[in-house]
């Protein structure tokens, strides 16, 4: 049984100027341990889809089942209790952290809300989670504004992981970060995926990132999924014209540079 299953999920935004079908009848499934990449341009509805999965936005129709649980059938209170198992990391790290709380308060809050552990146990859990995402204990009493963008995003990841979730939606977690930092955040996420056996839904507009990070990819265009399949297959031999245009528009950095550069680096170190 897949860990996450969406059937014919639709979300229509109604504005005074008419209706916009942000997500239009999407059916998807994600196996446990898999990483599904959702790729699309701005306005394709990919972020809305991420929020629909976690019911941060109420769908108009369709069904969302996670770990055999019909998410849409839950009452508000039940949903709140379940949230610790299904988490999200946002695109803008600074905006997604409450500026008035310390890092410890931010990471501890999911535990407090879920009533997990005593005060001392929670403290320990926060500490180990922060270390796991690459932040030392020094950060505990700082506030988000005193951290760099990459560090803020690590806090966001720690907050999502502190309750030991099974499914994490990553909504463009690296798109607002610098290249070198982007790479190290992705490595952290990959390491955590292996050590904690996490299932990711990775939303992105960057083909290169998806190529390196995801096992399966779904291409979204105007609220619909136009193509889905194993990443290598989809990116090497795209079937849908939209996927083709997307891939041909990408500007790769000269591929052979990598090997040469690596040897060069090794040469320097030795």
């Amino acid at each position: 049984m897949p860990l996450l299953e969406l059937v014919d999920v639709t979300k229509i935004f109604r504005t005074p100027y008419g209706e916009a079908r942000a997500v239009d009848g999407i059916t998807l499934s994600v196996e446990a341990g898999e990483t599904l990449g959702i790729i699309g341009e701005s306005g394709s509805g990919k972020s809305t889809l991420g929020r629909l999965i976690l019911r941060l936005v109420e769908p108009d129709s369709g069904s969302v089942v996670i770990e055999g649980q019909d998410v849409l059938a839950l009452s508000r209170g039940e949903l709140r209790k379940k949230r610790r198992h299904w988490q999200i990391v946002f695109q803008e790290p600074f905006a997604s952290l409450n500026p008035r709380l310390t890092i410890r308060q931010i990471v501890e809050e999911p535990l407090v809300v879920a009533r997990i552990g005593t005060r001392a146990e929670r403290r320990l859990r926060v500490l180990t989670t922060l270390e796991e995402v690459g932040l030392s204990a020094d950060f505990m009493d700082r506030r988000p504004a005193n951290l760099s963008g990459g560090q803020q995003q690590r806090v966001g990841i720690a907050r999502a992981l502190v309750t030991n979730p099974s499914l994490v939606v990553l909504d463009e977690p690296t798109s607002s970060l610098d290249l070198t930092i982007r790479a190290s955040i992705l490595r952290t996420l990959a390491r955590l995926r292996a050590s904690r056996r996490l299932t990711y839904v990775f939303i992105s507009h960057d083909i290169e990132t998806v190529r390196h990070f995801c096992s399966t990819v779904a291409v979204m265009h105007r609220g619909k999924i136009v193509e889905v399949g194993p990443t290598q297959e989809v990116l090497m031999a795209p079937q849908h014209p939209y996927t083709q245009s997307l891939i041909s528009a990408a500007l790769p950095v000269v591929p052979y540079a990598a090997t040469v550069a690596t040897t060069n680096l090794q040469g320097q170190i030795s």
């Binding site: 976690l54 941060l56 949903l79 709140r80 209790k81 379940k82 949230r83 610790r84 988490q87 999200i88 946002f90 803008e92 600074f94 905006a95 997604s96 952290l97 409450n98 500026p99 008035r100 709380l101 809050e109 999911p110 809300v113 879920a114 506030r143 504004a145 005193n146 966001g156 907050r159 309750t163």
Partner: protein, 288 residues
């Protein structure tokens, strides 16, 4: 990026920066001292002259060693009366602001949606269209005219501003990313409201409260100047100024100048404190 300059110029710059920063702090401490100290002085200290004692022997005297600020047309000591006014004027404006806050903020924070929210906003809008002084005068007349009535009238006039402000803050915060994040980790609506929305909105509200206190002080002075509100012989800055106008026209400036100066200093102090809070809030949020 690195800091520049030789050791000497660096030191000079640092000390200048320190003095710059310090001068702001000193200003705020002085301002706070005035706001707290004046009413305390009026209550605790023995004033050099009885502020309520007319004296036909010494009418309209210029400032001298006995009457530091001179005397008014009834021969009352201007210095003592100026200090004594703080006993009522400041607490009244603080109380009025507090009441306006208690009424306005919850209304604004929780009336963001639905028919009730719309209705409240329309009332707030209608209030904004009315001349404030007239409303204040009418409501004081309506209720009688004691200190409590003045407090209630000013609170009534100031409350809509808090409704508008806290509602705007709540609406913008409600759509913020970190409130969405709080929902995503399973916070209850009450936890979201207090831990995330109020915690970030109280700065603006505090600033507005300080400014409202300044505004209340000014309105009270205007009311007393027009002869509404606190009744004589209890002195108030507005009434003292009104009494002194005829002297002013004759060139005897002190009966108007000193209560005016007191008003200016106290309102100015409140404005300085509001500015300092605003700066502090900005610094916490935008250190980057």
């Amino acid at each position: 990026m690195t800091s520049l300059g030789g050791r000497a110029s660096n030191w000079a710059k640092q000390s200048r920066a320190w003095a710059y920063k310090r001068s702001g702090t000193v200003l705020v401490v002085v301002a706070a001292g005035i706001i707290v100290g004046l009413p305390l002085a009026a209550i605790l200290l023995r004033l050099p002259q009885n502020p309520l004692q007319p004296d036909v022997e010494s009418m309209a005297l210029a400032p001298n060693t006995v009457h530091w600020f001179g005397t008014d047309g009834n021969g009352m000591d201007v210095f003592s009366r100026t200090i004594e006014s703080a006993r009522l004027d400041l607490p009244i404006s603080l109380a009025a602001t507090a009441i306006a806050l208690v009424i306005g903020v919850p209304l604004g924070l929780f009336a963001t949606t639905g028919m009730a929210g719309e209705a409240i906003m329309r009332v707030v809008d209608a209030f904004a269209a009315l001349p404030i002084i007239v409303i204040a005068v009418v409501s004081i007349q309506l209720m009688g005219g004691g200190a409590t009535d003045v407090i209630l009238a000013i609170a009534l006039v100031a409350a809509p501003r808090f409704v508008r402000l806290s509602r705007a803050a709540a609406i913008s915060l409600r759509s913020s990313r970190y409130v969405e994040a709080a929902v995503a980790i399973g916070c209850s609506p009450i936890r979201v409201a207090f831990n995330h929305i109020f915690r970030n909105a109280y700065g603006v509200i505090l600033v507005q409260a300080t400014l409202t206190t300044a505004g209340a002080l000014s309105t009270i002075a205007a009311l007393n100047f027009l002869g509404v509100g606190v009744k004589p012989p209890q002195p108030s800055w507005g009434a003292m100024i009104e009494d002194g106008v005829s002297m002013l026209i004759r060139g005897q400036w002190w009966a108007v100048a000193f209560p005016s100066l007191a008003l200016l200093v106290v309102i100015g102090s409140l404005n300085i404190i509001a500015g300092a809070i605003e700066n502090k809030m900005e610094r916490v949020e935008h250190t980057r």
